[in-house]
Amino acid sequence: MHKLLNDSPGDKIMLLGNEAIARGAVEAGVAFATTYPGTPSSEISLNLFQMSQESDLYFEYSTNEKVALEVAAAAANSGLRTFCMMKHVGLNVAADPLMTLAYVGVTAGMVILTADDPAMFSSQNEQDNRYYAKFGGFPMLEPSSVAEVKEMMKDAFELSESLGQPVLLRTTTRINHSNAFVTFGDIKKPDIQGRFIRDPHRCVTVPTVSRGLHVKLLEKLEKAGQLAESSGFNFVQGSGKFGIITNGVSFHYVEDGIKDLGIEDKTSVLRMGFSNPLPGKMIKAFLKGCDKVLVIEEGEPFMEEAVKAFAQEEGIVIPINGKSKELFSRLFEYDPAMVREKIANYFDIEYTPAPKMDITDIPEIPIRPPNLCSGCSHRATFYEVKKAAKEMDMDIICPTDIGCYTLGFLPPLSMGDFVICMGSSVSSSCGFSKATDQKVVSFIGDSTFFHSGITGLVNAVFNNHNFTLVILENDITAMTGHQPHPGVDMMRHGFDTHGRINIEKIVRALGVEHVSVVKPFKVKKSIDIIKQALEFKGVSVVISQEPCALYAKGLKLLKPKAFMVSDQCTDHKDCINTIACPSFYVEDGRVNIDADTCVGCAVCAQICPENAIRPLKK
């Protein structure tokens, strides 16, 4: 049995934040869940996917976040408790349905989880998605700890049902990727049979209907605001004239800081956990009891600006601060020592921070950036495109996309010149090819192609653009931990319940005139085919097919057969300098291959001009 389906309430186990969220959904009786995977949210869906195979839960990996939210919106309007989760930038993709779903609402509890990533551990930006709650009109909950988020999930469903409105649950990486002990509660048996009751004056958003719905939305928000005033997630801790208003993980840094500074008896802390709409009355009452207030929130001054406005309404003239040069930044994440120091400075508490470690005499340590795995087919494809362009004397621009292959931008491959979001490789190629006279060759993974690459390709064919798109088809969503996508053979995973979409057929059906397929581990042949694609005037597509090495190893589809470097090596190090496979190492000036990690893709063996790299004979 899946560990999160354990039906012994009271058991205490260590869970990752994302596991606690999945468990919270199960305890809440969730019946329907959709997602598109994205770090730091991915383990939530992974666990729900696994549990759906052993329980009544319906779970799907949808094509992208917009699709996931629309699928979920229908379920939540058919009376099923529904959970839709994604990373913060995923909510941008889903923003279109989001904004109008706010008008329509739901007939059963619906929670939309956004996993924000302050400091960008694995994201392209650090946008603060609390503004979506305000922008769209959603009640929002924000947990401070792993144990709290499990409980909050249950309250989020209740809250959503009581208002008929989806609830936004906003986490940050430090919740998703922290571990703590969590006590299991009761599992509510989900209602799994939905029924849609026609209600066109709520569900068909033509202008006349929507005008009425906007009025209703404001009414719901007013009611939500009243609920926020009495919510147990908004509370005051301690008492004293120093006021701190805080949310999320910062709350715990504040608690530790106050204790370390010994100002527990002078400080009141207002923790906001139900943070949209903000409880105005509660905040005003809090301000009245303080001489000075500090707002501590990672990201944007979401609460700070509101708190200042509440003070103005009430004519309260105490200092209220948060983001400023001397205090807190809008950048990155906070940490306990930083919060302690700012509190001390702001409230004039005597405090000498510990002296910083002197590291001036520490030698420079070589960086250890992540690298494509040994035997990763992307490395071969990048090498081949680079080589083909070089032999044709082409100066190429390489828009790339989001996935493991983004790492191809690092030297020595250096293939990747522009990336802003999922799918942007294809559409930005359209722009580059018109705006410049440079040759454009772009890269996109298979999962990303389904997510949002297809529309760009339609645009390219229709508007008659001129570039080569390389689709890296490795049969899985690799980067986020190997989730399936619409091109994956689900039979391989033991499911006979899914369809499968063939990328080559889609590309041909879209009217791309020059389509070719390469097997990237056949180096010479691939280069020849790529050259033909580069020569073509118009849209050409190269599909590079080879399963993700890490995944194939896991499934035992790939049986590693290591290679070795023979005496014939004359030490020019072409292999290392061009493809940078992590299995290479240099010992006493000579190139070697680590037999434990080499999977035997043989790309280096085909590149070596001396034919010095050979299969290792055991």
Partner: protein, 197 residues
């Protein structure tokens, strides 16, 4: 209880997340509150992986620079890279077996001399325990047990206050039964090495 802050740094694939889980379990068995946070975005792609483990009453689950009480490094250059997480009172435990970053192979950096690494760590902190955990793991029967060897060394220092029995029980609960014997052997070897160090 007094708060103890432990940082573990490793290279992706060295098994530090499992080591953290074992320590978490040992804390549960010993009745010590614990919170951990991990950064494992691109771990499988050979990058650096860091876990922060906070034992005791503090509420935060991350550790600021200069505030680690113990630094446990699975790779010497990574241990040294994390020196800014330490202060003069920090206890450092490091593996001395190196894993060359790829940037060294392609000539974009020079790997520091391990003896020099040890000297620097010793000079800047309260004490250093160093051991070749790879060698000991192989001796125990599996190079995969590097993490458990290092756990042994950590427990031997006594800084966490966990009994050996409790940690062995945690290893039992958290690691694969097929590896249990090798892991227990690795744990003993790690403890012994730390005692001699």
């Amino acid at each position: 209880m007094e708060t103890i802050r432990l940082i573990i740094v490793a290279v992706g694939g060295q098994g530090n997340l499992l080591a953290s889980k074992v320590l978490g379990e040992a804390a549960l068995i010993s009745g010590v509150p614990v919170r951990m946070s991990e950064i494992h975005g691109m771990a499988q792609r050979g990058g650096v992986v860091e876990s922060a483990i906070v034992f005791g009453d503090a509420k935060s689950s991350i550790i600021s620079d200069g505030e680690a009480d113990i630094l446990l490094g699975f790779e010497p250059a990574e241990t040294l890279r994390a020196i800014n997480r330490c202060n003069k009172k920090t206890m450092v435990i490091t593996n001395t077996a190196t894993l060359m970053p790829f940037t060294v192979a392609i000539g974009r950096g020079i790997y520091p001399d391990v003896e020099n690494v040890k000297e620097l760590l010793r000079a800047k902190t309260a004490g250093l325990v160093s051991l070749d955990a790879m060698k000991l793991a192989k001796e125990a029967g599996s190079p995969m047990s590097v993490n458990i060897v290092l756990l042994g060394a950590l427990i031997q220092t006594g800084v966490l206050g966990f009994s050996k029995e409790n940690v062995i029980e945690a290893i039992r609960r958290r690691t694969k039964p097929a590896f249990l014997e090798k892991n227990l052997h690795a744990f003993e070897l790690g403890m012994k090495a730390a005692q001699l160090s």
